[in-house]
Symmetry: C2
Subunit: 410 residues, 2 copies
């Protein structure tokens, strides 16, 4: 740890208090950057310090931010960590964004690369209610990677088309089928009707198979302030799971949904987050936006860009998101769902990169299978099954998928 040129900066104490919001920033290693960190810590908490009378200092010290880390991490960049007292903000994620990266986000270049919420917050922000274990229990799938299939082109489609496509994906072995996040044009297949159709289909599937019913995750389309009402209405019609885009609707909306009772299973979509995670020297690290904050907001499944497709995160960043979603922490692990560019030949690599407690999120390589949607799902399930039985026979659906997209990374 480097605490300013002389190691004497008064706010650089290094200790981690138990009840602070800890934010780590990458800032350019220019000028007196440790002083910039001090100015951030003071400016974003009590405004000024050294010119305050001793009596005011004594009273305001409970609100004073502290620089707890100053590390030069490369020739060009330094990481500084600021501890914001929990007293400075209520346990809600809009306040976290405002305090930790509100005004500071405008002070380009600066990137929020790490975040740890106060120890006292899990009661107000408990994180995933179901989490990885709860989703697995609901589906009756204890260990293997789960298959999450995405509808293709839902805008304007009829309820019959919806039900047929859902049936195909479930029949092929998808554990969860989700709406597209851009699916708002449901005039011909409204949310309530889709939920009822899905419930009936799932029940008959479960009755036939003797296994727990698969899940359908409906896209929430209400405005952020009305999403909880929409979700409650849909749950009354039988909905169990929802797709939510917290960076369009508000992280607080996702958190409010996670407090609904009974608790829906929540899938978080990274829509709009690309606007601030994609530039390396500025914005917010993907592990913070799609990991830490998404888990704290209560997502049971966190969708994020995989390292494989055209819309890709660098592998280390994608793995950091996965770790933030399901690594050891005070909140239950969520299931990481790296998405985009997946095909059955990539399943072994995906499990190598993210572990088997993962959700395989696919659309194009399911509906684009030479033999159709059901075969596409079947090919993924076969690829998953081969993880535990690598020497078993290769079914024709998987052979066809390998032939089209390759039996490994392209």
């Amino acid at each position: 740890m480097l605490c300013g040129p002389l190691g004497t900066h008064i706010f650089c104490r290094g200790a981690q208090m138990s009840n602070e919001l800890l934010a780590t920033y990458a800032i350019p290693r220019q000028g007196d950057w440790p002083r910039r960190a001090e100015e951030m810590a003071v400016g974003m908490t009590v405004g000024s310090w050294t010119d305050l009378p001793a009596l005011e200092q004594e009273r305001l010290t409970a609100f004073l931010g502290r620089v707890t880390r100053c590390d030069a991490v490369s020739d060009d960049w330094a990481h500084v960590q600021i501890a914001y007292p929990a007293a400075n903000l209520p346990p809600q994620l809009s306040a976290v964004l405002t305090v930790a990266f509100g005004k500071l986000s405008l002070d380009s270049p600066i990137r929020l690369v790490g975040l740890s919420l106060p120890d006292s917050w899990p009661k107000a922000l408990p994180g995933p209610h179901h989490g990885a274990a709860g989703v697995r229990q609901r589906l009756g799938v204890p260990a293997r990677p789960l298959l999450l299939s995405i509808f293709k082109s839902e805008n304007g489609r009829t309820l019959a088309e919806f039900a047929h496509a859902l049936d195909q994906q479930w029949a092929g072995g998808a554990d969860i089928v989700k709406d597209d996040e851009i699916f708002f044009a449901d005039q011909a297949a409204p949310l309530g009707e889709r939920v009822r159709a899905a419930r009936d289909l799932a029940s008959s599937l479960a009755a036939r198979s003797g296994r727990p019913a698969p899940l359908y995750a409906a896209n929430l389309t209400a405005s952020g302030d009305r999403a909880v009402d929409q979700a409650a209405t849909a749950m009354a019609a039988g909905a169990e799971a929802f797709l939510v885009s917290p960076y369009a609707m508000g992280l607080d909306t996702l958190a409010a949904l996670s407090r609904l009772e009974p608790h829906p299973i929540l899938l978080s979509h990274p829509a709009f987050a690309g606007a601030f995670i994609s530039t390396s020297g500025h914005g917010v690290a993907a592990s913070v936006a799609l990991g830490v904050l998404t888990r704290a907001a209560g997502a049971d499944i966190g969708i994020f860009p995989s390292p494989y497709g055209s819309v890709a995160l660098p592998r280390a960043e994608a793995q950091a998101v996965g770790q933030a979603l399901c690594g050891p922490a005070v909140r239950r692990p969520a299931l990481p769902a790296p998405a985009a560019g997946l095909h059955p030949g990539l399943v072994p690599q995906l499990v190598g990169d993210f572990g088997s407690d993962v959700v395989i999120n696919a659309g194009g390589a399911i509906h684009g299978h030479p033999d159709g949607t059901q075969a596409g799902a079947r090919a993924f399930r076969a690829a998953i099954d081969r993880l535990s039985h690598p020497d078993g026979p290769v079914p024709p659906e998987l052979l066809a998928a390998w032939a089209k997209w390759g039996a490994g990374p392209r």
Copy 2:
């Protein structure tokens, strides 16, 4: 207009329909970029097109996105405009973010540089209720720039300290005084008590002066889903104006607040927006985020980085924000409030850059005035008065401000 290498791309029709969401993107001028635009238009609306049977094409054409503009704007960049049918999304801003820049935001580098909402939306999203004219009418200030003063260091302060600081700013001539957006630590001066204290102070000031009372804008601290309830409670205690950070709390939250009756005066803060407006080749243009979307969400006053301070927008970008807030459009004009780095010597330049229908937003150069807060506000008001009486006497507060910060741009 350039419609692909041969000018034959089928979706590039150039016409602007009356009821579409029009989004303009800057994308690299690489490869077959007009084709990329077509893929965006189809992919973000109906998913695929050319392989659909004619009957389905006929049915889905109402939902099909169209490329309406393809311009190479430099050696490296092109601007493409996509028209999304209004049928594809409800009139709400979370849906706009998801449809126009949800998945696309992840396809770096791409920047959302222009946005125009469907013609049918003003009923659901009417924009500023008060707008520039309403705020001026409430304050009894028909023409001159308004002075918006920011509290300094509010965390942990007592109600008496709050009332004293408010009194100083108002007595010096601030038209509006607003909380800091990071002010959540109001344990010693809760929202309801601040509002009541401000109301009493404002009433006695109005009684003494015979002029309309000045405004206090309280920071809303509830989570996005509860902000409307918090605002309603505060309004029952006498609150008239609020500070909202829509990119932390959700744009829908701001829109919901604008529908409250009676209608509060809403000030929009750019907190967190820096994460996605600050990188030129990616993210969202400031004029879209802090202009178009902020006005559509109903902000009466839109705060954004000025071109003058350390936290600065390039002048042309800041002016584009101002234009988007108050230029001719279907929604009422909001008041632009360029902020950060302002001092009285900059007032002529500010008015030159943004016009006189502007809010001068200052904190440091008010509280940091050599003779204190009240003199600091007085110096700004004197600088504003000199715009119409340039040859009048210079009061000592303005002379002191010029001496400290300069009589013009530094």
